[in-house]
């Protein structure tokens, strides 16, 4: 298969069989950027469906004791570590700034800024995940404990998976940055993971405000 795949010219082919025509761009938006924004729109809707489940459990079901509800069989409300999560929020918001630092640095071709920014972002993201893991292990209820537990783990867990994906992307970008694949003129491959990272950050703020604060 490979032999045909890389284009041996066979006799009798029409000219257009032989080569790709030039690409004509009909929009000033760069295709990968547009694709990323559409993908994020789709991701936001996935979060939306999880939020919908959360609001149904919270609003559509009657909770005379208020929200959070009582633990099953007790008169004691579920408790969330609001301040620990606030620290996590600060960590993640900071990481958005460090990520932005990397973006501005590459536009000026400052390699140290790029690598520093990416490294900091990566470790802040990792710290976020570790704090989250610690929170899970100390929180005292599981996803099986009432719809409250289910929706809490669903929203924070869905977000956690996104942080993990973002970290993998950042790691890949970091390796490429160290190898010098990006330049001031040529850095879309760095920008896209960082856009994704900002998205993960914004989603966390919404999750935090909804689940912990409100």
């Amino acid at each position: 298969m490979a032999s045909i795949a890389h284009g041996e010219v066979k006799p009798g082919k029409r000219p257009a069989d032989l080569h790709a025509p030039p690409i004509h761009y009909s929009s000033r938006v760069h295709p990968p950027l547009l694709g990323m924004y559409l993908f994020l729109g789709s991701e936001a809707m996935l979060f939306g469906s999880f939020f919908a489940a959360y609001f149904f459990a919270r609003v559509a079901v009657d909770h005379p004791e208020g929200w959070p509800p009582f633990r099953p069989g007790t008169e004691e409300q579920f408790h969330l570590p609001v301040y620990l999560a606030l620290i996590n929020t600060i960590i993640l918001v900071t990481s958005s700034f460090t990520a932005h630092w990397a973006t501005t640095a590459i536009k000026k071709d400052q390699r140290s800024g790029v690598i520093g920014g990416l490294l900091l972002t990566f470790f802040l993201g990792l710290a976020f995940l570790l704090v989250q893991a610690r929170e899970y292990s100390h929180i005292g209820f599981s996803p099986r404990d009432e719809a409250f537990g289910s929706t809490f783990y669903a929203l924070t867990g869905l977000h956690g998976v996104h942080v993990l994906m973002g970290l993998s992307l950042l790691l890949m970008t970091l390796v490429r940055a160290i190898r010098g694949h990006y330049s001031a003129k040529n850095h879309l491959g760095l920008e896209l993971p960082i856009i994704y990272w900002h998205f993960v950050d914004v989603m966390w703020i919404i999750v935090y405000v909804t689940v912990y604060v409100l």
């Binding site: 029409r14 032989l18 790709a20 690409i23 004509h24 694709g35 469906s49 996803p143």
Partner: protein
């Protein structure tokens, strides 16, 4: 990320030289390590073994009883094995190379195009090959799901229980609907769009060819998963294609294969839709403004917006259901504070827009066919395009009309009824504009035109019965009865499937380079048209009179009409064999098709049949509307434009490598 588009930038070939350089590293490996079926043959079982070992090993180590839990294993297999298979097939070769930090390679087109039939069975980045792959795969599933429908009509021909028990019967109804929707109607439009959209807008390929190849290969995976549910213990998923909990959480393990199959099919359609949108926005030929785009492109553009924004909701609904089943969470478990009706809200927030996902591309096909065969411009072109946008926006605000009797908040009923009924307005605009399009035309009654005109009358019936169901008081009587069954088939068979056949006959010469047999095509139409009405029209009556849907057995007073319906369905099924015969024989030995047998104006017909591997020698130049029939000297496109075309604008940013 970095794809064909980026790499191709500035890649102007002046002469007809063809230097693609050496093949990429992942093709320079031995046959067992190079992406392809041979490699998939060992990576697939390997991933299966790894998933099993991981899950059972973990459970054994943590003393989790039982070690062998089919529910958990099924989830593990359906998540991991597809990746193993796709990796073996080579769908990830480029990206794996990329994410491991190697330098980007210039596009070598190593996966592009087909020179023999074997090239249709590999990961191929050519949108035309992918279009054919989609079409053949989806029609295969059309036959499978149709056969399931015949089984269940055979059972329903008489009251009482004849051939199958109610477990098998419920499996038939559920998988018939699921496969028809997720593996035929939704993806067959993606396939047709894949083939014609880049041609229609004057592009060489889609924006992300590798992603395009991946989206196709996700589809047979989803289909096999759903069919596999027939062989797991307990039988096929049988809680209906809507899969409402709590029933879906209590029935046998095969239900998980519905949940996971829908995920893969959904991922496939999201990725394709994203690709369509980016292609249509960024890769139109010079002069192809939005107001000069063929309505098929408009239709796929709006459909793709619906897919990208709505499909995550069905993914969400099935994720939560799977969590409830496997992790024993409480999203839809009332004893644990869950809200049962919440599933229906989330599900229908996708599944109502899904009806438009299954209709709008068909609307586009009808606009193309009517204009060409009536030799007239589409009447009210702009309003036709805007009504698509209207349906797109309104489509998001009507989901709860499936739930008027479901026990949802009562105040929601009247607003949802109003938006539901209002969506008849843009739909009506389309019907009347189509009629005005053929009015005063020069109508050529070729096979695509039969299907297009048949579509109009059948779809009007489906639309009007939709108004009945949209009205809360009538819905209280008619919902969940055979009236709904009749309605959905007038919309999805008389609507979508008729447009699919119109499109299939219309583009058959372009896709295969051969003409189909016109007499067989017309026979196919008439048999289908008559048998379709015999099968489904009577169901309006038995439904209103008192027969609920999804029953294996029914009150004997409906025996006669059910027999009529079943007999009709057998003729309907047999008629489809004519189509299959016609396609196979014509593809092998039909008369050679000219470039433009229909004297159409849109760009795909100005190319040879089938089009060359890279579609165009030069970027075409669009100089007018797509339907200027009857206007002396009007042109839509100039293909041999000359060198003044080099005013190609640069994209705002330069690609990163």
């Amino acid at each position: 990320m970095a794809t064909h588009v980026l790499d191709g930038h500035g890649h102007h070939h002046e002469g007809h030289d063809d230097h693609h350089g050496p093949p990429p590293p992942w093709l320079q490996r031995g046959p067992l390590r190079r992406g392809g079926w041979l490699k998939a043959l060992w990576t697939t079982p390997l991933s299966f073994g790894l998933a099993t070992a991981f899950i059972c090993g973990l459970r054994a180590l943590t003393n989790w009883d039982p070690v062998w839990d089919l529910e958990v294993l099924l989830v593990g297999w359906t998540v991991v094995v597809p990746f193993g298979f796709l990796y073996g097939l080579g769908a990830f070769d480029y990206w794996l190379y990329f994410v491991t930090g190697r330098k980007t390679l210039p596009e070598d087109h190593s996966g592009h195009g087909a020179d023999s039939w074997k090239d249709y069975f590999r990961v191929n980045t050519d949108h035309k090959v992918i279009g054919v792959q989609y079409a053949v795969t989806t029609f295969f599933f059309f036959l499978v799901a149709g056969l399931l429908a015949l089984f269940l009509r055979a059972e329903l021909a008489e009251p009482g229980s004849q051939f199958v028990d109610s477990n098998t019967f419920n499996g038939f109804t559920s998988s018939h609907a699921t496969i028809m929707i997720f593996l035929f109607i939704v993806p067959v439009f993606a396939g047709m769009g894949n083939y014609v959209i880049p041609l229609m807008i004057g592009a060489a390929d889609m924006a992300y060819p590798k992603l395009n190849a991946l989206s196709f290969w996700l589809l047979p995976i989803a289909g096999l998963m759903m069919l596999a549910s027939f062989i797991v213990p307990g039988g096929a998923f049988n809680a209906g294609w809507t899969n409402y909990p709590p029933l879906a959480e209590h029935v046998q393990v095969g239900n998980l294969l519905f949940q996971m199959g829908v995920q893969w099919a959904g991922a496939s359609s999201i990725l394709t839709a994203l690709n369509f949108i980016v292609t249509i926005i960024t890769m139109r030929a010079p002069g192809m403004t939005f107001w000069r785009m063929p309505l098929l492109v408009w239709a796929n553009f709006t459909t793709s917006m619906l897919v990208v924004l709505a499909t995550p909701f069905i993914a969400g609904s099935q994720f939560l259901l799977t969590f409830d089943r496997v992790l024993h969470t409480n999203f839809f478990v009332p004893e644990g504070g869950g809200y049962v009706v919440g599933y229906q809200h989330i599900f229908w927030f996708y599944s109502h827009p899904a009806v438009y996902i299954m209709l709008l591309p068909g609307f586009g096909i009808i606009s193309e066919v009517l204009a060409v065969f009536a030799r007239k411009p589409v009447f009210g072109y702009r309003l036709m395009a805007l009504s698509l946008v209207g349906i797109l926006i309104l489509g998001f605000s009507v989901w709860a009309h499936h739930m008027f009797v479901a026990g949802m908040a009562p105040w929601l009923r009247i607003p949802m009824m109003v938006t539901t009924l209002l969506i008849a307005v843009p739909t009506g605009i389309k019907i009347f504009s189509w009629l005005a399009t053929i009015w005063d035309g020069r109508i050529h009654m070729r096979a695509p035109m039969y299907w297009a005109l048949g579509f109009i009358s059948m779809f009007v019936i489906g639309g009007l019965s939709g108004i009945f169901l949209g009205s809360v008081p009538i819905d209280q009587h008619a919902s969940d009865t055979y009236f709904v069954v009749a309605h959905i088939h007038y919309v999805l068979f008389g609507g979508s499937v008729f447009t699919i056949f119109a499109g299939a006959y219309y583009w058959f010469p372009k896709m295969t380079g051969r003409m189909y047999n016109e007499r067989l095509a017309k026979l196919h139409f008439w048999l289908t048209f008559v048998a379709f009405n015999v099968t489904f029209f009577v169901q309006h009556y038995i439904g209103l009179d008192g027969m609920p849907r999804r029953v294996a057995d029914y009150d004997p007073v409906y025996a006669d009409w059910n027999l009529v319906s079943s007999l009709g369905s057998f003729v309907l099924g047999a008629a489809q064999l004519i189509f299959i015969y016609n396609v196979i024989v014509s593809w092998r030995s039909g008369a050679k098709a000219p470039a433009n047998p229909w004297r159409a104006m849109t760009i795909e017909w100005q190319l040879p049949s089938p089009p060359p591997k890279y579609n165009f020698d030069e970027v075409p130049r669009v100089v007018g509307g797509p339907y200027e029939y009857g206007i002396p000297g009007a042109r839509h496109v100039i293909l041999e434009g000359g060198s003044e075309l080099s005013t190609t604008p640069e994209p705002a940013r330069v690609g990163a490598h």
